[in-house]
């Protein structure tokens, strides 16, 4: 199959690509003949499998912004890159990543952009118009969805974006499909001169499976940007015909995708199931478990394979559509049924399959059972568990600098102040009373501005992390300065992108591949963007930190506090060791240190105790009114 695609790929290239890629295509074909022997099988994370697929397709440029569940794609590429001529970067945000990838593609290099689903909102601007302008070499956009909001602020369905932009979407069910689709995406992109979306979900990106993969292929050796204003300059005069072209090629794309191995129709009884992506695996397992002879159509590509759906609809009397999140498949099934079989009963989002959250085997099995009038399985419950188990919510780490910053902030601004916050580890401090909002990357500053402009007279102190500030906060700060917002902006600078696994950013002085680079100064940026007062403080130095917030609060204009303390996880990994602290008998049991919320402080009997988790930040010693906490002297 790869061989076939490669031959097509060669025929369908436009001229300058042919020049750039021809030698590799011939080489690829030779390599492909041996592929059967070169393949290895390993237990791979879905995201690592995607990285493998990109490398096997000869990707030459990958740009991404970290976001669960997508981050390990770039990280794996960094690990595997070696001395391959491959540009891998953590971009400043997703819009930047997609534009950088588009630049690579237009220069004849296969390129990919990686992001989480909400990152695509940021990248939506280039995404929508790239669909018109098309690609040079293949361009694959990877948008990893997170049904059930495991680590996200919403559970939007990227398939809708693909539909919206008229861009083909590949929806893998497991890591093997993710790897295969990642590689195939480039062929498809080049054949139809269009960006292609790969849409894994958490249960694909963060699944592991035995995955078969081959050797990385070299990327284009003679990259060259070829000027072609009609396809590269989105003037109205160019965009209008390109829109016709985009709409015009949809049915050809659909036909090309229909016969791929990811769409499978098995006609049996006149009850049918149509399932997409990972839901196809749940459906297959449910059918096996219930030992049924239902017809099954598994779908992995969009635009949807209409002819296969039509064949299913002509064959069955009743069909259950199983898909996670939005009824993308179901709506199409309904449309097609009106024409080919108006009598068919269509089941799905209207009760059997949830539109919210993620699906699982039990829900899908029960939906199939209900369709067939069979007994449902009740989810097993353990009543004792609900009664006696203490909740275990995720929390800021012991000694985390964010906790200290929030403590000082709250001390100065008080209970009545408004605290817009943002997306990062620090959102977990919602219990401290300093996280009043969390909307999207960078929205802390802009929401704070809007709250002030609306007439709120209380103090307003917003907070966001260093990576979040660089991602989406800078424009908000500029806007706040320009429009004279009297607010305090706190940059919680732990010098990394902690929540997603400690990726570097422009403030760290290191690139994704570990090379030293310019270390952008947050202080200089804040000043340049128009902040009137910019101060930096170590949050573990509680006294100075409180003074600093006091000055910021009293400042008549836009003030910025940069609270800088490296992430404790990174500090530990780099071998930074501080002496831990202990509670003496002077403890009065006032619980002030306990209420500070550090997991290293416990309350035992009538007194506080510091456990082995202590990282030695020393903040609890400073807030203890009885001076009962001190450094352990060995």
């Amino acid at each position: 199959m790869r061989l076939k695609i490669d031959q097509k790929h060669e025929i369908d290239q436009n001229d300058y690509q042919r020049e750039g890629k021809l030698t590799f295509n011939k080489w690829n074909i030779v390599k492909n003949i041996f592929k059967g022997w070169l393949f290895v099988r390993e237990y791979l994370l879905g995201n690592a499998a995607i990285a493998r697929g990109l490398l096997e397709a000869g990707v030459g440029l990958v740009a991404g912004y970290p976001g669960t569940p997508s981050s390990e794609i770039v990280e794996t590429l960094v690990d595997l890159k070696g001395d391959m001529p491959l540009h891998v970067e953590w971009s400043v945000n997703e819009k930047v990543a997609l534009e950088v990838a588009a630049g690579g593609s237009w220069t004849g290099v296969r390129a990919a952009a990686t992001m989480k689903h909400v990152g695509l909102n940021v990248a939506a601007d280039p995404f929508m118009t790239l669909a018109y302008l098309g690609v040079g070499a293949g361009l694959v956009l990877i948008s990893a969805d997170d049904p059930n909001c495991h680590s996200s602020q919403n559970e939007q369905d990227s398939r809708r974006y693909a539909q919206f932009a008229s861009v083909p979407c590949l929806d893998p069910a497991d890591p093997q499909e993710a790897r295969d689709m990642a590689a195939f995406g480039f062929e498809l992109s080049e054949r139809f001169n269009i960006p292609v979306m790969l849409r894994p979900t958490t249960r694909v990106s963060h699944a592991r499976a035995d995955v078969q993969f081959g050797e990385p292929q070299p990327s284009c050796e003679s990259p060259r940007f070829v000027k072609n204003p009609a396809r590269r300059v989105a003037l109205p005069v160019h965009a209008r015909p390109l829109h016709y072209e985009l709409v015009g090629k949809q049915s050809a794309i659909e036909q090309a995708l229909e016969g791929t191995k990811w769409n499978n129709l098995t006609l049996r009884s006149d009850d049918g199931i149509i399932a997409s992506g990972i839901a196809g695996l749940y459906a297959e397992e449910a059918v096996l478990d219930l030992d049924l002879d239902v017809s099954l159509l598994r779908i992995g590509t969009y635009p949807l394979p209409s002819r296969l759906i039509e064949r299913m609809l002509q064959h069955v009397k009743r069909v259950l559509v199983v898909e996670e999140l939005e009824p993308v498949v179901e709506e199409q099934v309904e449309r097609l049924a009106r024409v080919v079989n108006p009598e068919v009963e269509i089941l799905g989002k209207g009760g059997l399959i949830s539109r919210e959250g993620e699906l699982d085997l039990l829900q899908v099995r029960n939906a199939v059972a209900r369709m067939r009038g069979l007994e449902e399985k009740l989810p097993s419950r353990i009543p004792a568990a609900d009664k006696i188990l203490p909740p275990r919510p995720p929390a800021l780490c012991p000694g985390c600098g964010h906790r200290a910053t929030y403590y000082a902030m709250r001390k100065v601004f008080g209970k009545k102040a408004i605290y817009p916050s943002d997306i990062g580890c620090y959102t977990m401090a919602v219990g401290m009373g300093t996280v009043d909002t969390c909307l999207c990357m960078g929205a802390s500053i802009t929401l704070a501005s809007g709250i002030r402009f609306a007439g709120e007279t209380e103090g307003i102190c917003c907070s966001l992390g260093d990576s979040t500030f660089l991602h989406g906060g800078m424009t908000g700060l500029l806007n706040a300065a320009y429009n004279k917002a009297r607010i305090t902006v706190t940059i919680l600078d732990n010098s990394t992108t902690a929540m997603t696994g400690h990726q570097p950013h422009p403030g760290t002085g290191v690139t994704a591949t570990g090379e030293p680079t310019v270390k952008v100064s947050l202080e200089a940026l804040a000043s340049a963007l128009g902040a009137g007062l910019v101060e930096t403080v170590d949050p573990n130095d509680l006294e100075r930190s409180i003074e600093c917030f006091q000055r910021a609060k009293e400042f008549s204009g836009l003030s910025v506090v940069i609270a800088r303390q490296p992430c404790v996880i990174l500090a530990r990994r780099s071998g930074t060791a501080r002496r831990s602290f202990a509670v003496s008998d002077d403890c009065q049991g006032c619980r002030i240190c306990v209420d500070y919320g550090c997991p290293a402080i416990e309350f035992e009997g009538e007194k506080a105790r510091i456990n082995a988790l202590c990282t030695g930040c020393g903040v609890c010693a400073k807030i203890c009114p009885s001076s009962a906490i001190s450094e352990v002297v060995r």
Binding site: R41, E42, Y43, L45, T68, P69, E72, H150, S151, A173, D174, R203, H206, A207, R208, A209, D210, I278, L281, Y282, E284, E285, L288, D289, D291, D360, L361, L362, R365, K377, P379, S380, R381, I382, A384, A385, I388, L389, P390, P391, R392, P393, P394, A395, L396, C397, C425, M428, M499, T500, G501, R591, V594, D595, G597, P599, I601, E602, F603, N611
Partner: protein
């Protein structure tokens, strides 16, 4: 018909090494020529929260074990064993480390931690056997408390359809070589607990 040869749910607290256990099983399964699936917890929950990993040996379907379908529940922390006990099949086996990690809700006095007896009796009601192992102490005996997860892997090895030599080969691939001997001892001590 069974969709999987053996369904395992591994639970614990972020940082305890849940993923390493699944990684070893998965690698060993590949060496044994079996298909294998796993599902991991990444991101926010890792910060001191509950962590769950699904591992399915001899399975070509989704990576998720169905509630009520786990042949083995391997818990690195006792409260987490109970939190995820609904995954256990009535014929299943629970292997539980006895050493608690107190959540913030307990250290701050908002909630209380159940006794091991309460956890044990609740678990016994839902599965065939529940074995409690002081894996944290055994790991120290083996030479490093970090190997608590490998003690539990050793105990698990008696309940999964994979040969021990393949598990040990896989272990050698994922553990730094200077800790390998201690980890091998930890594995053997865990295995002895269920013999």
């Amino acid at each position: 018909m069974r969709a999987s040869e053996c369904d395992i749910v591994i639970v614990g607290v972020g940082g305890q090494g849940v993923i390493l256990i699944s990684d070893v099983i998965g690698r060993a399964a590949v060496k044994a020529g079996k298909s294998v699936r796993g599902a991991e917890t990444h991101g926010m929950a890792q910060r001191g929260g509950s962590v769950i990993n699904h591992t399915r040996i001899g399975c070509r379907f989704s990576p998720m074990v169905a509630a009520g379908g786990a042949d083995v529940l391997l818990a690195l922390e006792p409260a987490e064993a109970l939190r995820f006990a609904h995954f256990l099949s009535s014929e299943g086996v629970a292997l539980v480390n006895t050493s608690p990690v107190l959540p913030v809700t307990v250290t701050t006095g908002v909630a209380s931690y159940p006794s091991l007896e309460e956890i044990h009796s609740a678990l016994r009601n839902v599965c065939r056997t529940a074995t409690f192992i002081d894996a944290t102490a055994l790991a120290k005996t083996a030479g490093t408390s970090q190997a608590m997860n490998v003690v539990m892997l050793g105990a698990l090895s008696r309940h999964i359809p994979l040969p021990e030599d393949l598990l040990l080969d896989a272990l050698a691939q994922v553990v730094p070589s200077k800790y390998l001997e201690a980890n091998r001892r930890a594995f053997a001590l865990g295995k002895a607990e269920v013999e």
